[in-house]
Symmetry: C2
Subunit: 306 residues, 2 copies
């Protein structure tokens, strides 16, 4: 079914070497090539637009749902809507991710709009890896939008990773956090060449004792450009924190523009950001152990993004 | 010459009880009522618009120049341009500041545009206090703009203070920092009632080994609103840091929107911001020493803004 390039993309973005057990939807070049529901997780195709609905029954525990997207044809532009309805009292993991291999002249673009409705007392882990390969002139473009609406006592942890390979990305994440609920976002990003990446977070801490933590680690190499925007609005008694740590190299360019806004006297909001180059002493130390400058740099970057 | 209200305003914003020695310009209700130059500092009226030129001779050391503005008539709106030409190798202090007493129905507004050209190896301390009093319906409005252009090896420290009394302020500060030069800004702000305050900083670290540190401490009480914006652009090998610490009380509203942008791989840029209420334990501790809740709050706020 999948050729070697496609298998490689699938593994890179989802960790899958084979069909997974349980519920999944595998999308290749704008078509679902395989789909399965489980007794607790129903995946159905949307009738009105491109995309799927994922309905997770209340009380579903320890299940994993895979919905990877792979593209290896140049010239595809797609916009896909995936909606996740997660019942009360769940504990589930969702593995999304997109891999694009482009050897052609035309650009390939995947725009995914993922909306999560998370029920009371539910816990969701959401993993999203972006990966690009291929030596065509055509660009690999991904614009993911993630919208999260969290009911009471819920917990969501998002881990998003884009290490190399994507020419242009604009990532939008919007969260509305209910009473006693927590939204954690961990983002890792490495750009190089002429790549462009923008991450734009907006979190509304609406519920009493709501909490959010946005942690971004970024490396910009060569002539790449990155923009990090994180807005946290405290609309109730809440804790919000964002941090952006970035390493700048070569002729790259990084901006960090966080915003915290306290609309309630019991909002506690903090942000931190730091942009700098790799410390000279760190490089020298590793080079004194026998590494070349390039190897030492790579080791530091890998540690930073781990 | 000055009545008691005017004397009080003058002392509040400049610390002056009498005519100072040296160079000064005292402005009352849109007119210079007294002006003096010293052998090193020449103050002259502008011909083309409202305002003065302050020319400080190279090598001037340990001199203080006072240019306070006071207003106690309602209904005045003025826009004043003051330009400071500071020669090389100086070490001077400039005391600006504006006090408005408004007992009338019409608003009183002072907009001051101060531009500093700081010569090589020069050190400037700039103090700016804003103060308002009077129980009229008319608003007390101040919109100061400060533009700083710093040549090599220069150092400027700005201290701006606005504790109560100003209904509306939009403060703009722009700095361009040359080679081996340092710009430090310390801002203290307390708003209450329906007051509005916006601080907007933009610093371009253009010179090699340039440095800037922007430190803001803010308290917002009642229904007041504050916006803090600090943009630091690293365009060379440089260090930039901004921090905004804010206490929110009652139904106030505070936003902090810093931006750091590294346009050079040897830019080191950091920002931090925190908004929160007074810690409960601190209040309880002071109250256990016999203070009322209000007294305890005031003591904490005074310490925070000191």
């Amino acid at each position: 079914m999948l050729d070697n390039i496609e298998k490689d993309l699938l593994e890179k973005v989802s960790g899958l070497k084979d069909k997974p057990k349980g519920a999944y939807n595998i999308r290749l070049n704008s078509k679902a090539i395989d789909r399965s529901s489980s007794s607790n997780i129903a995946i159905t195709k949307k009738e009105d637009k491109d995309g799927i609905d994922i309905r997770i029954a209340p009380g579903t525990k320890k299940e994993v749902c895979y919905i990877p997207v792979i593209m290896d044809k140049a010239g595809i532009t797609e916009c896909v809507y995936n909606d996740f309805y997660i019942g009360d009292d769940c504990d589930v993991t969702i593995v999304a991710g997109c891999g694009i291999h482009n050897c052609g002249k035309a650009d390939s673009e995947h725009d995914g709009i993922h909306t999560f409705y998370i029920g009371k007392n539910s816990k969701v882990k959401y993993l999203e890896k972006h990966y690009g390969s291929g030596d065509g002139e055509g660009k690999r473009i991904m614009n993911p939008t993630t919208i999260v609406e969290m009911d009471e006592n819920s917990y969501m942890e998002m881990e998003t990773t884009q290490i190399r390979g994507i020419n242009s990305t604009k990532r939008i994440t919007k969260g509305t956090v209910g009473k006693n609920s927590t939204l954690i976002v961990k983002e890792k990003l490495l750009t190089h060449g002429q790549q462009f990446a923008e991450s734009d977070f907006e979190v509304n801490l609406d519920g009493e004792n709501s909490h959010s933590n946005i942690i971004s680690r970024a490396v910009a190499q060569d002539k790449s450009k990155q923009i990090f925007i994180a807005k946290i609005y405290g609309n109730n008694k809440c804790h919000g924190h964002s941090e952006c740590d970035a390493i700048i190299m070569d002729e790259a360019n990084i901006s960090a523009i966080p915003e915290i806004k306290a609309n309630h006297p019991e909002s506690n909001l903090i942000h931190e950001a730091a942009i700098g180059k790799i410390a000279g002493e760190q490089l020298i130390k590793l080079m004194s152990l026998g590494l070349t400058e390039k190897e030492a740099e790579n080791q530091i970057i890998n540690g930073f993004l781990k």
